[in-house]
């Protein structure tokens, strides 16, 4: 129960996720992988686990039916997932069973992303400027108070202690010391950013609402990248060969072969599926979560059928 006395008489209600026939066809907000395994999380507490590079999926029982927004593998056993109404889950057996972890009890806070850098240091970000961190593998979480309260949609690690924190109102923050200090960058756009793909030399490609993609080599000088789409760009990933893929509108992905200097449109097999998040499987297949399940693209699928 919430600590203070709230005027809202409604009580948060929760319970185990329903193991449903159509769970695999529901909305999956995030996907993350580890070797041959991958986990996708989404609405109604749906958690799908694949141990064969995303070819087949099985729903795993979850102790919540709240919508999950993010998933992150720490190592081959530990997986974290966060979602709406401040729900935080942890699995210690590679995603087969999950337990609720108490970080915050506030039904009005939505956790939007979770990230671990190494096995000890972790972050959870969410709506209205919520930022939590842990230094002991998630045993204790403490809130890092912020002056501003935008929704933080993503926290991404670029290695070498560099972190990117992305969110509403053009929020693009960079930290060079694992989140001790944050440096707001001016990415020339006041709308919402949903994610960042870090570049070498502390630059990044950030993307967000209405097809907005901005690119900077160093974080100081930003350049707007024009594409054909003006769809909301939910997510993206950098492939092992350096190519970048972003989700675009229904039935479409964006592909860049030059570190984000330009993008071309790649069609998805399902024209009506809205892509949300991406992960390159261990065998090079691309796993795309959508609002109607998960699509697996074979590695060669990305090369063909591109159009400017």
């Amino acid at each position: 129960m919430a600590k203070g006395e709230q005027p809202n008489p409604a009580k948060p209600v929760d319970g185990p996720a329903v193991m449903a026939r159509l769970a695999k066809r529901s909305v999956f907000n995030d996907i993350h992988g580890q070797a041959a395994s991958a986990i996708a999380v989404g609405e109604r507490g749906h958690i799908l686990l694949s141990v064969d590079h995303g070819n087949t999926w099985t729903q795993q029982p979850a102790p919540t039916r709240r919508t999950l927004n993010a998933v992150h593998w720490v190592d081959s056993r530990i997986v974290w997932s966060v979602g709406h109404q401040s729900v935080v889950l942890r699995s210690q057996d590679g995603g087969k069973t999950w337990n609720k972890i108490s970080v915050l009890d506030d039904p009005e806070t939505a956790f939007l992303d979770v990230l671990f850098v190494g096995s000890k240091k972790g972050f959870i970000v969410g709506s209205y400027g919520k930022l939590f961190s842990t230094s002991d593998s998630g045993e204790k979480w403490s809130e890092v108070a912020q002056d501003d309260d935008p929704h933080f949609y993503q926290i991404a690690s670029a290695g070498d202690g560099v972190l990117w924190l992305i969110g509403e109102f053009g929020t693009v923050w960079r930290s060079k010391d694992l989140g001790q200090a944050w440096e707001p960058l001016d990415a020339l756009y006041e709308g919402t950013f949903f994610g960042a793909l870090p570049l070498a030399k502390r630059g990044a490609v950030v993307f967000g609402l209405r097809g907005n993609i901005l690119r900077s080599e160093d974080g100081a000088v930003w350049q707007k990248i024009e594409t054909r789409t003006n769809a909301l760009l939910h997510g993206g990933t950098t492939l092992r060969d350096g190519r970048m893929v972003l989700t675009a509108g229904a039935g479409e992905l964006l592909l860049s072969e030059n570190s984000g200097q330009s993008f071309s449109v790649v069609p998805l097999p399902d024209k009506a599926a809205k892509p949300i998040s991406l992960w390159e499987a261990g065998d090079g297949g691309l796993l795309v979560t959508t609002d109607r399940g998960i699509i697996r693209l074979q590695p060669f699928d990305l090369a063909k059928g591109t159009e400017q």
Binding site: N8, T67, E108, I276
Partner: protein, 770 residues
């Protein structure tokens, strides 16, 4: 013995005043004809609803508030390529204008790509922005068409107004219930023919026009029902031929046929006076009445002419025919009536009307063919040479009947009974597997291959639209729609139903609110959730208008529309069970989930009613037959002889249903009762003859042989006449008539065959001692 005296008194009185009675009957017929011509086709949907069923009570309770819109859909689908051509868009625009101008259309409800209410929205930095999908300055240039395509993709109308693959688009419109000009209920038939005219205008080798909607169904059902007149004429012609073949005389054919037509006139006239119209289901009754009338009339002619041949005069011959047949004919007709009355058990008004119509018709036959006919016959003088003609024919048939009578040889009889038993056992196993409900796609009233049902198939394949909808009503407290606890449960309810096998999609307030909340969060799919914050929940829910049918004004009733893949009984049962299970597990005082609205909801209720009535109706009709037979013959053995073949035939009729994919539903359930009620006639006639021979002192074999020779031809004739009467429906445009026609024809024919083959065989075994 008072009975013969009473009969004699009645006979004496009738025949003394025969001219007076004739005139009276003629006048009565003329008057009733006047009423009969005023009979209206009355195919109200309301009449198909099972009375007092829990689902229907709920359906009625919310009918006014959420009264399913009377909607018509005209879809324009290209045969190849996509819709982005100048020709297509010109057509779609013209079609939209025509639908807009149609009489009875609520103009504000007209929706197509060309109407201003069809807008797209896109999320921009400071909220929503949007415009018309087809902009005001639209031109059919490649650029203009490309822009429409983009706008459509951003709109909420993909799959709804335009297909996902862009091979078609539709115009939707809601109709007034009450005609604003005449203040009378809207003439849906006029609407249907206007719609048909649109098809003629816009369909060509490049585009197909597909029309669906309740009014169109009503129009198609009515024109199908009106074809019944053609079928009736065909039936009369074929029957006349049969009667002539049997009677070998023009006058002897005309009289029983006229009397039977009089029975139909009396039936229709009386029903009109009782305030009933005729609906597509009870339209079969006049056919049945006519056929039953003819078969009884022919029996009358048979006895009359036998008397004539024995040398008595016409009046005396008519009197003895009356005397001989009033009681067995009356009993037979009474049994028919009782068979029909058991149908009243099914609490569905259309079925009850059918039962009433059939009972009235059979009662009319008692007057027209057992009383009026002998009175008319008494004026008749057959022409010279008639007797010889009949005798010649009889010689031929007698040989045949002697052969048939061989079935009473003990060994053959035993064999036949064994075959009958095996058939019964095999049939029973099959009969138990007959499914309840309609088993086909589309509107059950119309044939699966009818234009309407093909249109339905095209539209449901190409658009995200289901025509089989079950509505579950969530009853909650005032403002339940902005109460998180209620909405969270509603959301789970919607998901629960969506996961049921056979469910295509689910539309409910919680799902809508989730989507809208995502819209308020710049379209991010991560926010496709119900906001816990009450103000945000209210903001999302508030955007859903009551016209969607997903909420009432104070948010206390939240219907969930469940679109189904089909309306097979199994599908309906699963959805109904899922709703009930969810209500049992999660329902509470504050939130209840109730069944059911929508066409599938009504079907689910009908199915339950049919399932409940299927055994009682058989038990009652057989109980009635057994009691009446026992009352007439006072012999358990005779009752067994008559009832067993009937039981076999009704089992075989169920087997036929299984083989022909006909489900047990409100239209087919009465068929067995009708068939059994009618089939008993044969047995009664045969045993009347048999007993009359026995009274003359003949032994079993001789008596049965004589009975067969006397009544056999009449039985075959009756079976054929009845089969023709209903057999013509097999060509009807209405599937209910096809099903009923085929099943009844089967029962009538099988009853006939069993009566002349199995019944004497059983009798042989039971009367073994003799």
């Amino acid at each position: 013995m008072t009975k013969p005296t009473l009969l004699a008194t009645v006979e004496e009185w009738l025949f003394r005043h025969r001219l007076g009675f004739l005139v009276l009957f003629l006048v009565l017929t003329a008057v009733l004809f006047g009423f009969a011509t005023q009979t209206k086709v009355d195919a109200r949907f309301e009449k198909q609803l099972p009375q007092q069923h829990e689902y229907i009570e709920t359906f009625r309770k919310y009918q006014d508030e959420f009264g399913g819109a009377n909607r018509v859909i005209v879809a324009l689908v290209v045969k190849e390529g996509d819709v982005f051509t100048a020709d297509y868009f010109n057509k779609l625009e013209a079609l939209t204008d025509e639908v807009y101008a149609m009489h009875g259309v609520r103009q504000e409800s007209v929706t197509s790509l060309f109407t201003p209410n069809v807008r797209f929205t896109e999320v921009v930095e400071d909220g929503f922005s949007g415009g018309n999908v087809v902009p005001a300055d639209f031109e059919t240039t490649p650029e203009g068409l490309a822009r429409v395509r983009e706008n459509a993709l951003k709109s909420n109308y993909m799959g709804r107004l335009v297909t996902d693959s862009f091979n078609g688009a539709m115009v939707m419109a809601n109709l007034f219930e009450i005609d604003p000009d005449t203040k009378e209920p809207l003439d849906t038939f006029a609407v249907a023919s206007e719609l048909e005219a649109l098809r003629g205008k816009y369909e060509d080798d490049k585009t197909g026009v597909h029309i669906i909607g309740f009014s169109k169904v009503m129009g198609d059902v009515r024109s199908g029902a009106l074809n019944a007149i053609t079928f009736f004429c065909i039936t009369i012609v074929i029957t006349a031929l049969l009667v002539w073949l049997y009677s070998q005389s023009f006058l002897f054919s005309v009289l029983p046929m006229s009397c039977s037509l009089a029975a139909v006139v009396w039936q229709l006239g009386t029903l009109h006076l009782m305030g009933y119209g005729i609906d597509p289901m009870s339209i079969l009754v006049p056919f049945l009445v006519f056929a039953i009338g003819v078969s009884h009339g022919v029996q009358m002619v048979r006895v009359f002419r036998n008397q004539l041949f024995e040398g008595v005069d016409a009046v005396e011959a008519a009197r003895s025919a009356f005397r001989e047949l009033l009681v067995p004919g009356g009993v037979a007709l009474l049994t028919d009536t009782i068979g029909f009355i058991t149908i009243l058990l099914i609490p569905v008004p259309t079925i009850r009307e059918l039962a009433i119509a059939a009972s009235v018709g059979v009662a009319a036959i008692i007057v027209t063919n057992l009383i009026l006919l002998p009175l008319m016959l008494s004026y008749l003088k057959p022409r010279a040479g008639y007797r010889e003609r009949v005798a010649r024919r009889k010689e031929k048939t007698v040989v045949f009947w002697h052969r048939v009578a061989l079935v009473t040889r003990p060994r053959l009889a035993k064999g036949l009974v064994i075959v009958g038993t095996i058939l019964f056992v095999l049939g029973f196993d099959q009969a138990a597997r007959v499914e309840v409900g309609d088993l086909h796609q589309g509107v059950p009233e119309l044939r699966p291959e009818s234009r309407y049902n093909r249109d339905t198939a095209v539209i449901t394949e190409n658009f995200n639209l289901g025509v089989d909808v079950l509505v579950a009503f969530t009853e909650t407290v005032k403002d339940g729609s902005v109460d998180y606890e209620v909405m969270e449960l509603l959301d789970r309810f919607e998901w629960h139903l969506k996961n049921v096998e056979g469910v295509k999609s689910v539309l409910g307030l919680a799902g809508m609110a989730r989507k809208i909340n995502s819209g308020y969060s710049e379209g991010s799919l991560k926010w496709q959730v119900l906001p816990f914050n009450k103000a945000m929940l209210a903001q999302s829910v508030g955007r859903v208008e009551t016209s969607t049918g997903l909420t009432n004004l104070d948010g206390s009733v939240l219907p969930v529309m469940v679109f189904l893949e089909d309306h097979k009984a199994e599908t309906l049962r699963q959805v109904v069970a899922a709703v009930k299970a969810f209500d049992t597990e999660h329902g509470r005082e504050k939130i209840r989930f109730r069944l059911a609205g929508g066409n599938a909801g009504v079907m689910a209720a009908s199915n339950e009613v049919v399932r409940e009535a299927q055994f009682p109706i058989l038990i009652y009709v057989f109980a009635a037959v057994i009691l009446l037979c026992y009352a007439s013959f006072r012999s358990v053995r005779i009752v067994i002889c008559i009832v067993l073949p009937l039981a076999l035939v009704s089992v075989l009729a169920h087997t036929l249903m299984l083989w022909m994919d006909i489900g047990l539903k409100t239209s087919t359930l009465p068929v067995v009762a009708l068939g059994v009620g009618e089939g008993v006639d044969y047995g009664i006639y045969l045993f009347s003859c048999f007993l009359a021979q026995r009274k003359k002192g003949l032994a079993f074999t001789k008596a049965m042989d004589a009975a067969m020779t006397q009544a056999g031809s009449a039985i075959v004739f009756t079976g054929l006449t009845l089969s023709v009467g209903v057999g013509t429906w097999a060509f009807s445009a209405l599937q209910i008539q096809v099903d009923m026609g085929i099943l009844l024809m089967f029962m009538f024919l099988m009853n006939m065959v069993c009566a002349i083959v199995l019944l004497p065989a059983i009798a042989r075994l039971l009367f073994r001692s003799e």
